[in-house]
């Protein structure tokens, strides 16, 4: 008996069906689930290689919702500003970015010192928080921003009605975010996001300042921050890293 005389083993039905679909529509038509979860989206760096590695996707993902939480002076805004600068690009054509300043505390000089090009940054400073959702929806629709930073999400909690409206509109907002491939980056003082936000989140990092960096003369020149990965679609949560953030 030669090997050639042995008939091939019959293929299972599923495999035959997959092979038939691949033959008819091409090899990309069907993918296994583990391949989908490993797909890394377009992203831009946070400016910190360790943080990029922690996120699992190499930075801040575009077309997804990212949340940085942490108390005041925890360093989340510093990291967000550097991410914004990276989103604009340094040596290539600048990409426009937008900043929704709900807290009304944005200091353009900090943006400038972090490397953000102010000429390509649109600041949105609504005097009241009414209609924030409509405003956000219009801003996202008007053009493909590479990143939209929303500072002071906690302000929404002062109005239960606005919070409810925001939560209800979040799925629709996320559809626009995915279509435009905009990185929607939220900054919040509270440690835990609301249910709707938590449901839509792709990346959540929590910042906690562990120490101040002092100069020889005792002045504060920076801080050390521990970043905990609370959630990521591309990495196992629970990991953490320490960052040294020099103040510009």
């Amino acid at each position: 008996m030669t090997l050639e005389s042995v008939a091939p083993a019959p293929q299972p039905t599923l495999q035959r069906a997959v092979a038939a679909l691949h033959a008819r529509y091409g090899s990309g038509v069907l993918r296994e689930a583990h391949e989908l979860s490993a797909a890394v989206p377009p992203r831009f760096s946070t400016g910190f290689p360790t943080l990029d590695a922690l996120s699992g996707c190499g930075g801040v993902p575009q077309g997804h919702l990212t949340l940085f939480t942490g108390g005041a002076t925890s360093g989340k805004l510093s990291v967000a500003l550097r991410s914004l600068a990276a989103a604009q690009g340094r040596h290539r054509r600048r990409d426009p970015v937008a900043v929704l300043d709900l807290a009304g505390t944005a200091d353009p000089q900090s943006f400038h010192l972090a490397g953000v090009d102010l000429a390509h940054t649109l600041f949105i400073r609504p005097p009241r928080i009414e209609n924030i959702t409509t405003l956000l929806y219009d801003v996202l629709n008007v053009r493909a921003w590479r990143c939209l930073l929303v500072d002071g999400v906690g302000t929404l909690r002062t109005s239960p009605h606005q919070l409810h409206t925001f939560d209800a509109a979040l799925p629709e907002l996320m559809r626009v975010v995915r279509r435009q491939r905009t990185a929607l980056l939220l900054l919040d003082d509270a440690g835990q996001p609301g249910d709707a936000t938590a449901h839509s989140l792709s990346l959540h990092m929590h910042f906690r300042r562990t120490d101040w960096q002092l100069s020889r003369h005792g002045g504060i020149v920076g801080c050390t921050t521990r970043v905990q990965l609370e959630r990521s679609r591309w990495a196992r949560p629970g990991a953490h890293c320490d960052l040294t953030l020099p103040f510009p």
Binding site: P49, H91, L113, R125, P127
Partner: protein, 394 residues
């Protein structure tokens, strides 16, 4: 009649790098005593670190940046070796920057072509004296500007000779960034779409003079290959010292810096008209109790903007203990030098027009949400009051 230009793009860093193998492939910035970036590695430049940045600014651009104090004594030693090789020829030599300088070959060669063996020999001497890492790029032509342009587009260890008949064709496609003009003017040229020397040379002279003054007129002549400037063996002539007397003794740093800036501005403008910039400044302070303090301020690259000089003067004033109120200052531009050419490989590509990128969507959105969208502009970056520092434009 020939002029040789020796050029090394990152002389200070490359001079110190061989002794520090741990700097390989890392972003490194070398700082002077005031914490100002004097030189940096290619990786740091890629991350957006620039000369004259403060350490914190540089670290903000590149968090992984290694900040290392500059070994000024070692640089001076290497610079002396560089200068020594050039001066040993017995020809007039004008040093423009560390590792860069002109050598006037007019007395030994009639044309750049005749000067070729001499240039090649000089290049070999420089390489043997300074090492392979500091091998310069050489350019040779009838005029200083074309010689410099030739050296800038040539790789280290190579010589580019341009003959008079080829000059116009050689200069025409080169970038306007090679012109010794202030960075602001070079940016304006880029914004206007004037990318090459041929584009700039084609502009009406009256329009150039109207927009950029005497410096623009001279630069246009250079773009045409007409450069009558001689090699100045003693370096560029410095203006007279500027004395500022305060009617009432001054106790305010900002006021003192503003006065110095106001008095220096005409001198900087005069330098700019000759396509020169301030490379070093001596600031002498006289106090009410007749004590004096002297500061030597050196810039990594020649500057012509009053703002840059003012920032350095302000820093010097802040870092000086004042034994009494200030009654006068005496400022001397102790060294002037030709403006450096831009680093061609590191140029930003033309940026998006901010008007279309931001303004157009903002205008559309403002119809529905008036008074919500703003541009931010830094008006006085150093002003302590936020409202004076920043301007919001709707």
């Amino acid at each position: 009649m020939a002029i040789l230009y020796c050029h090394h793009a990152n002389f200070v860093f490359d001079a110190l790098h061989p002794a520090h193998p741990e700097w390989d492939d890392h972003p490194v910035a070398l700082l002077n005593d005031d914490g100002i970036v004097q030189a940096c590695s290619p990786q740091a430049i890629e991350s957006g670190v620039l000369h004259e940045m403060r350490a914190r600014q540089a670290r903000a651009r590149c968090p992984d940046l290694r900040l290392v104090p500059l070994d000024a004594a070692r640089i001076e030693e290497i610079q002396q070796a560089f200068r020594g090789v050039l001066l040993a020829t017995g020809l007039p030599v004008e040093i423009t920057a560390p590792g860069s300088g002109y050598c006037d070959l007019r007395s030994v060669a009639r044309s750049p072509r005749d000067a070729q063996p001499i240039c090649a020999d000089l290049g070999r001497q420089l390489r043997s004296a300074l090492g392979d890492a500091l091998t310069p790029a050489l350019g040779c032509d009838h005029g200083k500007f074309t010689a410099r342009a030739a050296a800038h587009i040539t790789r280290p260890g190579r010589l580019r000779v341009v003959d008079l008949p080829d000059e116009a064709a050689f200069l025409a496609p080169l970038s306007t960034a090679l012109l010794p003009l202030p960075p602001l003017v070079l940016n304006q040229l880029r914004w206007l779409g004037i990318a090459t020397l041929a584009d700039f040379a084609r502009l009406p002279q009256s329009a150039v003079v109207q927009r950029w003054g005497e410096a623009g007129r001279m630069a246009q002549q250079l773009a045409l290959g007409r450069d009558p400037r001689p090699v100045q063996a003693a370096g560029a002539a410095s203006p007279e010292p500027v004395r500022t007397d305060f009617e009432t003794p001054c106790e305010n740093v900002a006021q003192a810096a503003a006065s110095v800036r106001r008095d220096l501005e005409p001198h900087l403008a005069a330098l700019a008209a000759q396509l020169l910039g301030c490379r070093a400044l001596t600031l002498q302070l006289e106090f009410l109790n007749h004590r004096t303090r002297t500061h030597e301020i050196a810039f990594a690259a020649p500057v012509v903007t009053a703002a840059s000089v003012s920032a350095a003067v302000t820093h010097a004033l802040w870092s000086t203990p004042w034994p009494a109120p200030l009654i006068s200052t005496r400022t001397t531009i102790s060294a002037a030098a030709e403006m450096p050419a831009g680093q061609l490989t590191l140029f930003d590509e033309p940026t998006d027009d901010a008007t279309t990128a931001i303004d157009e969507p903002a205008q559309r959105l403002a119809r529905k949400h008036p008074g919500v969208f703003f541009h931010a502009q830094l008006v006085e970056p150093t002003h302590p009051v936020v409202e004076r520092r920043i301007e919001w434009k709707s």
